[in-house]
Subunit: 260 residues, 2 copies
């Protein structure tokens, strides 16, 4: 994906040099990203001329060059101090689950997990929300992270809630944090689904968190249902300071190549 | 699709004989159907026993056997006189169009048409609705149908309107009629999109209708954006009479194998 975007940007901005992008939330294979943010330096001399006529021409050109599963929605000149990854204040992901006995709606089957409950049952949204509430705030999420040497597992969970979408009947989890360590979102889903279908009690996810130990009981659910929906940034004047702060706290993670 | 469903039903209901289904709205290749209704006779002796325990067991068994692009949402015993196709009072289809300059959202790209407008423009929903209003009611839709010898082209259009979906930013057309002749929905979309993007005037679709002549100017849009959403039936006591009436008016179409 990243390579395809970099090639398309080079074509669009008529750059002979390779264009490298920095990404707000790197995602594992199979994870979707509707609200991804990237920045890049454009070495060509033409780029200001191209953007001066508005962003529609480059957007169309990118759409022609990119594969159908990769689209650029908006393009603009970044303010000074902006870094797509390090300036970000928070990321919001959603995880979509179908628990309909007959299986997921075919039209959404590429971005929805099908979860099989016991006969006659559906996921208990209230139980999952009760369990989720205990994970909110700043914690060491070692129990929910794939171990990476030198990387911190301390994250601040700002939002974690499930809703039953009225139209689609899907169970949708929204999770928002300053950042996520590797496979953290999918591990949280993997701990909450067994609460929703009654195989684990409501306190189990909090007990895992407190143990600060990664155990095999926590299933990392499939990437298919996961989507990066939104990345938040501070006002322009705070972009550089926020980037400094984030690098100080999580800079070591850079070595680990992936977080989601 | 129909063959796969028939095989899966035979497995689910433990029938050694082939099960044949009758379908409310036959769809061209590539057209989606979220609200399809089918009926069948189940020759096995076990079927009442299987359904007596509720519909969840057969729904799960069907989900296991069917491919991922085909799902059965509900199953039940049909009332006397019911015929999925002939008892239907009306069919509702939706056609979804993305006119965002950067291309359609990847997560919906398998059921949305991307329409390219002129630079700086989007589809004009009001203009398309003004043009659509002139097509409402009972008309000979020869201009919008692929000619089939012996088949009637008279249909009653009960609803035809475009909305801009607030969340998705898609332009979505809802069309409802007693029935549709072959490729009629896709031809109507093909006549309204050029009104929306300014290449045709608002009266053009009505002039085509009045001419009662199929002309090459009407583009049959790709099936990708089309979905059968809903089929309506009368109260149980009228099912048989409605089937008789529909067969009298449109019975010849049966010879033509396809309508959408």
């Amino acid at each position: 994906m990243q390579g395809e975007l970099e090639s398309a940007l080079a074509v669009t901005f008529r750059s002979v040099e390779t264009i490298r992008v920095a990404v707000a939330g790197r995602t594992d294979a199979g994870v979707h990203a509707r609200g991804q943010v990237v920045h890049c330096d454009v070495p060509s001399v033409d780029w200001e001329k191209i953007l001066a006529r508005g962003s529609e021409v480059p957007l169309r050109r990118l759409a022609e060059v990119l594969p159908g599963d990769l689209r650029v929605r908006a393009i603009g000149i970044a303010p000074a101090g902006f870094h797509a990854r390090w300036s970000a204040l928070a990321r919001t992901y959603r995880y979509r689950v179908s628990d309909i006995p007959g299986g997921a709606d075919p039209l959404v089957r590429y971005h929805v997990l099908h979860h099989r409950c016991r006969a006659g049952q559906r996921l208990d949204i209230d139980a999952m929300n009760a369990a989720a509430a205990a994970l909110l705030g700043e914690h060491d999420f070692t129990a929910y992270c794939k171990k990476r040497p030198g990387a911190s597992s301390v994250r601040t969970l700002k939002q974690l809630e499930w809703v039953r979408e009225p139209d689609s009947d899907l169970a949708v989890m929204t999770i928002r944090a300053d950042a996520f360590c590797h496979s953290m979102v999918r591990s949280v889903v993997g701990a909450l689904l067994p609460v929703g279908d009654g195989r684990r009690d409501v306190d189990w996810p909090a007990r895992l968190l407190a143990a600060r130990l990664r155990i095999a009981d926590v299933h990392v659910v499939a990437p298919i249902g996961l989507c990066l929906e939104h990345v938040e940034y501070p006002p322009d004047r705070d972009l550089a300071a926020q980037a400094e702060r984030a690098k100080r706290f999580r800079g070591n993670d850079e070595l680990t190549l992936l977080d989601d």
